[in-house]
Symmetry: none
Subunit: 216 residues, 4 copies
DNA sequence: AATGAATGAGCTTTCATTCAT
DNA sequence: AATGAATGAAAGCTCATTCAT
């Protein structure tokens, strides 16, 4: 997982320093173009233009539009999950972890709303990738919830159902207040966060009270 | 809202009986084609072929591919909401209404998974349409929740936040257990529904007990 | 074989008068372009330019470059064989038929050198088509040779081998003196024709003498 | 003709031992790739991959795709003619030489059918190369035929016409029974060879008998 | 001598849309 | 009201060739 990553061309040959830089440029350009235009309106021409390389160059590094998209989604998955994981690891109790994780998720979405749109688009372009994305996030939740149940911190219930319910709450609240609400700074308003959090807390039957912490 | 609908051509002129039939045929064909292929893979040729009319005919009734898609989404939105509304109207208490509404939503998704995917695709094809879709469902929820609060059936809280949270729960649970779980019959398993429902009930602080069932 | 031919679009639908004209224009343009540039150097753009229609129009009538090429080859086959058949049918004896057939073949090649190049190109583009071409010509020869053998006009031998040998002779003589010798008028010089013809006559062991007739 | 060949780079500078090896590797790779795919489907990438060198290296040794193809055709031509010459030199009489030459030609075609297809493809890729190919073979024939005529072994006739007629016979018989007849072992069946040979013998008015065999 | 990244023109094909009939 | 031929822009992709290292 943390082995040194070796980048290769579309043909599988390893890349030189220069090649690696070009590949990076293409990925960055793709991120920009996909998030602005969506997968279908994006095109190789637009991506290569944004990367300031010729069209042919694209195919040195990626096999197709699909492939670069998949790679991008995988990368973003990693980043969202990382952000959430880092944050919730700071929590002393399950309740706090929950709160911090949500806040991190919202923060990521707020900071990279375009990126988050890419992930959502995967539903149609690369369903397997999206499946993976949610499944991986769910995994983390489930483990946490199970522990909390064992510790008697929350109700005893099927952690998988709870995990997906929680993700759903985050998803739509984020969509409504971050993605759609153009208001700057992009963030879930304090009160909304608190209301949502209260709902979740009740839903999980969290015992001990919780306080503090940054919202989103 | 329930005024007699008058169908018009793309130019706005009213339609003859025959014209209305052709228009209907095109809409049905579009529903079929969009649900099977998605917006981008669908094409006017395929739609007109499925409707057994010529390409030119399409533009007598619709201005563009976008327009027929929007119309379709609006139509589907009407149908989902109708199903949910009908169902929850049967409920004696807010809790029961909630339960029945959810079940209806899941049932719709289960019966027309492809259609539901169309709605989700609107996020990229016609963001406004998706916005509308959720906003309208939220409206219904909000009204219901407000009443329940007034009656002291649930906690007092911002009904808008609750509404979006509830939609999120339904959304992801449906995605996970209906859209992704290929198992027939497509439906949210009884236990999953109950677990979810318990979560929601707690979250809403619903007092009185609940009865009945018919999940989805 | 002589049933009324119905032209159809690439999709298989029948064509209007106008459509038929466009299709014809494309076929003519293709003949010109393929013969001047060869299959690989030819392109849809060049063909549609020569036909003065847009690129998209091409695909209304033909599925691909291959398909229009195949159609063209089949058409040319028909024409060469027709010319040869008509001519040799005038012969009173097998010897005369042979002579007239050859002359017709050379005449066709001389008049449409470009077309003949197309047929030869089929060897690589559409081997089956070329196979067919020669096989069909061979058939005609074989039948004629068999009759001549029965009548005692020529030696008794395997007519298939003879047929291919004869085709070979015509092929390379034509290539050498018509296709390569730019001299106008394009035709196999009288003396060459006679020398070749004498060779063949001896080879077939033709009894009765032959005289007269146009060469190429 | 048999002067020591000096290999040079595309620029004309002479090659080192190592350079010569690389050049050879490229030629071998090209032979393989061209024969498997034909000129147009072949690509420099595929050739350099097969030769296990980088794309850039190709252009150190050859000016273009065309050039390496021409060189290859010339090489193959040399090899076919060599095979035919060697064989016919064994013949005691012209008749025998003829027979052996044909057999050798068929044998070469049978052993390297793909290579022979390359030569034929030259007609469109590099007409001059094909012209040369046949012209050189014809030369050999003509010289032989002239001698035979002088010796009274065959009829007196224009040797050039006879030469091309003979090549034609070999060409199409080879095409029909070796190139197209997939049957293994690839070879012209004994009887076919004999029939063809009888035809030629008669055509040349060969006096003296013939013996031996070894067809193709 | 060798590399391999970069180029850009060109290819085949699709498709939303227009328009004469 | 309906047709279907025509358009032309744009798409994804390939490839011979050049050049800095």
């Amino acid at each position: 997982m943390t082995a040194v990553e070796t980048f290769t061309s579309a043909r599988g040959t390893p890349l030189s320093k220069r090649g690696e830089r070009t590949r990076r440029r293409l990925l960055d350009a793709a991120e920009k173009v996909f998030s602005e235009l969506g997968y279908y309106e994006a095109s190789i021409v637009k991506i290569t233009e944004a990367a300031a390389v010729s069209q042919g160059t694209f195919y040195i590094y990626f096999e197709s539009k699909q492939q670069i998209f998949d790679e991008l989604v995988a990368d973003l998955n990693r980043r969202v999950r990382h952000a959430m994981h880092e944050a919730s690891a700071q929590g002393a109790s399950r309740a706090e972890s929950e709160r911090l994780g949500f806040a991190a998720f919202f923060r990521f979405t707020a900071e990279h709303p375009a990126l988050y749109r890419i992930i959502r688009q995967a539903e149609f372009v690369s369903p397997a990738a999206l499946h993976d994305h949610y499944a991986k996030i769910a995994e983390g939740y489930i483990a946490g919830l199970r522990q909390a149940m064992a510790a008697g911190d929350i109700v005893t219930a099927d952690p998988e159902v709870l995990a997906w319910a929680l993700m759903g709450v985050g998803e739509l609240i984020g969509m409504r207040w971050i993605l759609w609400d153009g208001a700057e700074p992009r963030q879930v308003p304090e009160e909304v966060f608190e209301e949502m959090y209260a709902f979740i807390t009740r839903g999980l039957g969290t015992s001990g009270g919780i306080r503090d912490s940054s919202s989103g």
